[in-house]
């Protein structure tokens, strides 16, 4: 190596952060069970002397066993909280439960101020055979699962190519984009004319970044100290309240930020471990805070603005949790078994009364609750449902058919302009992108939230 090469090598080693968590054998095993094609030899990918076409472990005789095991896993995940095993949720496009040997840092990048790109390509809508609620593909961007949100006539999502994108819902085209690397799973949070993103979530420091909601040019940034260090299992660490304040899971506390300044204005002590997820009720009277590890998720409910604790509860059978969404009737969140994730609803924030909503996702895919258009939506690989924000009752359900025997995925929809939009993926035909669907009248949100 010459001097330039050595300097580059030094930069790569010095700047590349430690991963927020490790990969575990259990995760790999689950991938093998749920995606048996991964175990098949691809000739061009074998190294050195080529291994046998099929290793002894993946014989033709064992393939049906693996397929059957996959069914068992999905069925187990659908059986409700009572059968919840330990979670190693770690979807490919969302931060999940921490692995057993997770490192202490969650790294990030925050994008430099960018000028938004002009409109990207618009693709004609493509019908998806048998898809729920007449879904048709209107865009082919690869997005981070669960990152799609709707605000003020636009859709926002985190792109798989490390971008924050604004999407025109009428065309499915990306109309503005800025570089963004996701340090911890969190969808965009829109307050007024600003899109807020978590740009660093690492050790004792959290960096929030504000972007112009139209152009996505960076407009502001704020450093928020994390008392005691950030949780390594953060899933939904930033949200906004009805008054526009931001709430950030900041170590053993929740920081409240006035985004207009921006400046931290309040700090709530949470004496139940490191905070990993936050949500505020629509009327601003309750703050829901998730804490815990991969084996135990605790939910603390605070009265606002007194900061007194109203309730504390734990997922009955253990397991990780997060991605909280608050509605008038309580709080919604996720948990999962292995790579299967599903959504629960806890009336009044009491996990002892939590019920599963929807069949969730498998195969490393994510199923997050979304609250949009007056109802709560839950997607996945089994079905798409809309549910009452007040009671958790499912208002309508649509099955998601398999695509040539391979699961299709519809993320939880969001509503814009009276239409529902969902991020769609299928491995069978290698299609991915934004889907537009027309849910039944029951999902139109004529239910008090």
């Amino acid at each position: 190596m010459n001097t330039e090469e050595r300097k580059l090598a030094d930069v790569l080693h010095r700047i590349t952060p430690e991963p927020p968590r490790r990969v575990t054998v259990e995760q790999v095993a689950y991938r093998l069970v749920s995606e048996p094609k991964l175990g098949q030899t691809r000739g061009r990918e074998s190294a050195g002397p080529r291994p046998r076409r099929r290793g002894p472990l993946f014989s033709r005789a064992l393939a049906p066993v693996l397929a059957a095991a996959a069914v068992v896993v999905i069925a187990g995940a659908s059986a409700g909280i009572a059968v919840l095993a330990n979670s190693h949720h770690n979807p490919p496009a969302a931060a999940g439960g921490p692995a057993s040997s997770a490192s202490s840092s969650a790294s990030a990048s925050f994008s430099p101020t960018q000028t938004a790109s002009s409109a990207q390509q618009t693709t004609p809508a493509t019908g998806l055979a048998g898809a729920p609620w007449g879904a048709e593909l209107i865009g082919h961007q690869a997005l981070v699962q669960g990152s799609l949100i709707s605000a003020d006539g636009s859709l926002y999502a985190i792109g798989n190519t490390s971008t924050l994108d604004r999407i025109n819902p009428a065309t499915g085209a990306v109309v503005a984009s800025v570089a963004y690397n996701m340090p911890v799973w969190n969808p965009p949070v829109v307050v007024g004319n600003t899109v807020w993103m978590v740009s660093s979530y690492n050790g004792g420091n959290i960096v929030l970044q504000g972007y112009d909601a139209r152009t996505l040019a960076r407009t502001s940034s704020l450093l928020v100290p994390a008392i005691g260090g950030v949780s390594i299992g953060g899933q939904g660490v930033l949200t906004s309240g009805p008054d526009g304040d931001l709430y950030v899971a900041a170590g053993e506390t929740v920081a409240v930020v006035n985004p207009a300044v921006p400046q931290e204005i309040h700090r709530i002590q949470v004496l139940a471990g490191k905070t990993s997820s936050v949500a505020v009720s629509p009327d601003g009277s309750k703050l829901y805070v998730g804490t815990g590890s991969s084996t135990s998720f605790r939910l603390v409910v605070f009265n606002l603005p007194s900061d007194t604790i109203a309730n504390e509860s734990t997922l009955p059978s253990g397991g990780a949790g997060g991605n909280l969404v608050a509605t008038s009737g309580g709080v919604w969140g996720t948990t999962g078994s292995g790579h299967s994730e599903w959504v629960w609803f806890a009336p009044n924030g009491n996990l002892a009364r939590a019920v599963q909503v929807g069949r969730g996702a498998g195969g490393g895919l994510s199923s997050f609750p979304s609250y949009s258009g007056g109802v709560v939506w839950v997607g996945g690989t089994g079905d798409v449902v809309c549910a009452s924000p007040a009671t958790g009752q499912v208002l309508a359900t649509a099955d998601i058919p398999a695509d040539h025997g391979v699961a299709q995925y519809f993320a939880s929809p969001v509503v814009s302009g009276g239409q529902a939009y969902s991020y769609y993926q299928t491995d069978a035909s290698q299609q991915t992108g934004l889907a537009r669907m027309t849910p039944p009248a029951a999902c139109t949100g004529n239910v008090s939230s």
Partner: protein
């Protein structure tokens, strides 16, 4: 050990767990350099390890498990780049002064990824394998499934492109703390 329903049907190969525990961090960091984000990096590493699982005994006998895993990672990454939309996005950078070290650290990572984003997929893979994974040119050629000459060519072109990458020069002269 955590229990996953159904997974107990799989027999864990000898030494597989030790390898995963010892090397997953390094593999994930390589995945981050290739893909630019952690979820994709995790997906990449899990995919490669899952492909290696059934043939682990053979790979261990050949003393080549990591080479194989990296090969799967690179090939999977190259397939993704072919498959997924990767249209270029116009960007502009405004000079800023940062008040906190954490901002500098975050921007350093952003600069590094932005520089790598300028590279075609194969050049990016060569940079990661040669200069981060510390593979020799011969090993890189084997991992990439190409000739040593092609590796040299990719590396040379990559270095030329990276010379013009905004922010990277400062990183290479050590002006920004990690």
């Amino acid at each position: 050990m955590d229990t996953l329903t159904g997974v107990e049907h799989l027999a864990e190969p000898d030494g597989f767990r030790d390898f995963v525990e010892a090397r997953s961090s390094a593999l994930l960091r390589s995945g981050w350099l290739l893909t630019g984000d952690w979820p994709s990096a995790e997906d990449l590493v899990q995919t490669a390890l899952a492909a290696a699982w059934p043939r682990w005994s053979s790979l261990r006998r050949q003393d080549a498990p990591e080479l194989y895993v990296r090969k799967i990672m690179v090939n999977t990454f190259l397939r993704w780049r072919q498959r997924r939309w990767n249209g270029e996005i116009a960007t502009g950078r405004l000079p800023e002064t940062h008040a906190y070290d954490v901002f500098a650290q975050v921007d350093a990572r952003q600069s590094l990824l932005a520089a790598l984003d300028r590279l075609p997929a194969r050049q990016r893979a060569v940079v990661v394998l040669r200069y981060f994974a510390d593979q020799t040119e011969t090993q890189t050629a084997e991992t990439m499934g190409c000739s040593v000459g092609a590796v040299k060519s990719h590396a040379s072109k990559a270095l030329a492109r990276l010379r013009d990458a905004p922010g990277l020069a400062e990183l290479m002269t050590g002006e920004v703390a990690s």
